[in-house]
Each structure stands twice: as structure tokens, then as C-alpha cells.
Symmetry: C2
């Protein structure tokens, strides 16, 4: 791991509708997978209400703590869309109307249909740069290490891909997953010893029950290929020593993966 920069990120999912349960967030898992692919470690995620001081505090705390902050939600034309204003306040600046977005909006919607609410979507914090929106036109923006994206999953994804190239990448996390058809409590002591012998790896155990059989998925993650293979070999040996057959696989139905 020496010499490899630790690049971290935080996701801020903004919206009362997620906290009330009305809408199930559909962005976090996608973002987590994409960041992992780029060697960026998603270190935390928060779901926040549409409350100005809560958003400002979280943005300021997280942009200090992590390499990148990604927000989703709250950038539309209605009164409950307060993300841009909160980001401006968090950076101690104000919003300014962006001529390029006004032009985009007029092109898209028609000059005669422009109103104050729609123009609000053209307001970007001073110092922000635009994030293209390949789906519905109205851009997001970046200011400092904070990327402000839409909450609509298809739009969020399009925006992320537009800025993905700007992100500094870390060492890519390598991962191997071995399934043991043994109860978690049977492998836990041996697994703990393996984790202690391989402190540079992150070994997770995710129990499941499939067709009445108990098992666990033992996931080893590290940026070092040799370390990965060495730890996995010890896990496979431990499973064999306990009288079972290790099965390696890349994916298992998440429903079968209780977090324990």
C-alpha cells in the first residue's frame, strides 16, 4: 500500500422523501460501485433532510474530511430544491445566474415559458463549474471538491460519467469472495487469525442461509494482488480443514447476504 494515495469520498443524499420512506434511494449503491471501480473509497454516506443548516453543516464537515463529496437531489425549480443555495452558503459565497444554463433552458423550454422558478435552476455558486447533464439538459455543478448532482438516478449517472475523468484515482481495490458452507460461528476464530496475519487486507464475513443450509461469504479486499491471493489461500485451507469445500464466486444474491 506504500506510495499509494488514499482517495476517499462521501455521498450526501439530500431529500425529505428518502427519510420519510416515500422514495427508496436508488443512487447510493450505484455510486459506491463506480467509486470502488475507480479506486476511490466511499468512506461514509448520509441521507439529509431539506433543511438548510443541516445540509450546510454536513457539506462543510465532509469536504474537510474526504477527498470528494458527491451530493444528489434538491437541484430542481421548486421551493424544496435548496441544495445550490446551501452549497453556496457552505462555501461562504452566493449564487449567480449562469448565462450558459439560461441559454440551455431557453432552448429547451422556450423563451416564452421561462419564469422565476425555472431560472432558479440556472443559479450556481460563484466559483462553480458546470457538470453536463446528457439526459435532461440542466447541468449540475462542481465547486472545490464538492460535486452537486441530480437525484433522478438516470440523470445522476449521466452527470457522474461526465466528471468521472476529473477524479483522481486511487489504487484499485482487488476482491475475491470464497463461500464456506459452514455456520459463521464455526469459521470465526480461524478467520480472525487469518485477518491478524494479513493486516493489510480487509476480510469481511457475510452469513447467509440458502435452502436451509447455513453458509458465509468470506470477502477479502486489498490493493495488493499477492496479499490477496495469500490470504484467500489460507481461507480456502481453513474451510477444507473444517471439513467443507471452498467455493469461489463473484456474486451471490444480496438477499442472501445478511450484514451480520
Amino acid at each position: 500500500m506504500t506510495g499509494v494515495k488514499n482517495i476517499t469520498a462521501c455521498a450526501l443524499i439530500i431529500g425529505n422523501e428518502v427519510l420519510s420512506g416515500r422514495t427508496a434511494d436508488a443512487n447510493l449503491n450505484w455510486l459506491a460501485l463506480r467509486l470502488t471501480e475507480k479506486g476511490i473509497r466511499l468512506a461514509e454516506a448520509r441521507v439529509l433532510p431539506d433543511v438548510e443548516e443541516v445540509i450546510i453543516d454536513a457539506v462543510n464537515e465532509c469536504r474537510e474530511k474526504y477527498t470528494y463529496v458527491f451530493t444528489t437531489g434538491g437541484i430542481g425549480p421548486t421551493h424544496d430544491d435548496i441544495t445550490a443555495l446551501c452549497i453556496a452558503k457552505a462555501f461562504g459565497t452566493t449564487l449567480e445566474r449562469n448565462a450558459e444554463i439560461v441559454r440551455l433552458l431557453e432552448e429547451r423550454i422556450g423563451k416564452d415559458k421561462m419564469n422565476e422558478a425555472r431560472l432558479k435552476m440556472a443559479d450556481v455558486p460563484v466559483g462553480g463549474s458546470l457538470i453536463p447533464n446528457p439526459v435532461s439538459g440542466v447541468p449540475g455543478f462542481r465547486i472545490g471538491n464538492v460535486f452537486v448532482m441530480a437525484g433522478v438516478p438516470s440523470i445522476m449517472r449521466g452527470m457522474f460519467e461526465g466528471i468521472a475523468g476529473e477524479l483522481e484515482e486511487g489504487a484499485r481495490m482487488l476482491s475475491r469472495s470464497v463461500i464456506a458452507f459452514l455456520p459463521e460461528g464455526t469459521i470465526a476464530d480461524g478467520l480472525n487469525a487469518i485477518q491478524e496475519r494479513h493486516p493489510a487486507t480487509e476480510i469481511g464475513s457475510y452469513p447467509f442461509r440458502k435452502d436451509g443450509v447455513f453458509g458465509c461469504s468470506l470477502v477479502t479486499r486489498t490493493t495488493d494482488k499477492d496479499e490477496l491471493d495469500a490470504a484467500v489461500e489460507e481461507i480456502r485451507e481453513m474451510i477444507r480443514d473444517l471439513g467443507a469445500t471452498p467455493v469461489e464466486e463473484n456474486e451471490i444474491d444480496p438477499e442472501d447476504l445478511p450484514a451480520g
Copy 2:
């Protein structure tokens, strides 16, 4: 709203596997809906890694800020299950082996199969009380205003229902949802005026596109039935004034509900 206590909650979803994207969280939305039903406002949610100081800090911050804290994940027998230890440290106490859980484990697994890893699941912070687990036996626990539950969705749900009766309930949030087949930018100015006339309601606008038609779902929420009906009537009238027909409905496909 006078006289009604504001009961709040925070959810802490604990587990590297959610942040790496390996597992999609399946607890937050369910918990949000159940809390909303009980008049408890889920004010924030965080996804945290299996890192001791991060969990301790979040628990201590959130148990001060909110009426209740619910954690999911990290209470199994393996080395990466550190939630109980973190909660003990957050409360400035230690873990003690709970005789009742030891008995449950011995009954369930067999005395001959007990080992140090399995006994770890019997460790509860001093001062904690058990949360029954109707699914797989091993209990969670409550200490102060913090409820520690499993990450496996079926087990988490069973545990929550076991303690749901202990929770202080707030005024139940009433909700009505009106669909306008109009672009969000068209209704935004009128909607803002309605929100300003009804400050005790929380009006959210969630745009969608269905079969090529733009629309938005306008959700009014408040604990006051008269306020609710008054605000909704104004929303319906606004939609009619804009030449469209308001459609009231309880549910719409979440895929069509971009958070805007």
C-alpha cells in the same frame, strides 16, 4: 402542532459492504416507513464503515441530537462485527457476557459447538437490555436511546417489531399526494406561494416522466388534518388554473419519482 412532541430518530447503517457497493442496503426504506407510521421523524441516516472511532463518534453525536438512534449491522461472531464494542465505548462502559444469551446460544447451537467467536455474540454493554430476535435467536440490545439491531433485513424487522411498543410516538404525519401532468417548472411559482401560505405543512415536488409526458407528484405532509386539506385544495385549484386536471393518488412507481 402545539403541544405535540417532536420525536426524532437517526439510522446508522454499519458495514463496509454497503460502502463498497457489494451489498445494497435493504433496511433504510423499511425503517423510514415504520418510523413515519409511528409519528417518529427519521431526521438523518448515515452509512458507516467498520471503523471503531467513526462508529463511536457517530453514535455519540446522534444520541445527543435525536430522540432515538437505530443501528443495523455488525453484531455477528466474526472479527468485523464490532458494533457492540463500539456502543460500549461510546457509552463509556465495557462489554459483559450475558448469561441469557449464552443459554440461548447453547440451546440453539449445542454446548459442544460453543467457541470464543460464538460467545462474542453474548457480549452486551453494561446497562444494556436485550432486544428479542424472533428469527434467528441471538438478541440485539438497547442501551439508553440507542437500539442495536442485526443487518439481516428479516432479523432487523423482527427486532424492530419487538421494541416498537417501547418507542414514544409523535403526532402521526398525514400525507396527500396530488399528481399534476405539468412540468415542474410550470407549477413551481404557484406551489411556492402555497407553501408560504401554509408554513406548517411540508410540500414536496417530485417530477417524473411517464410515457413521454412530464408531470410531478406534489406531496403535502403535516400532522394537522385541516391544514392538510386546505393546502391540498389550493394545489388542486392551482393545477386546474394551469389548464390541467389534478389526480390524487397514494402511490406511484418510485422509478418515476426523480428527487429533482
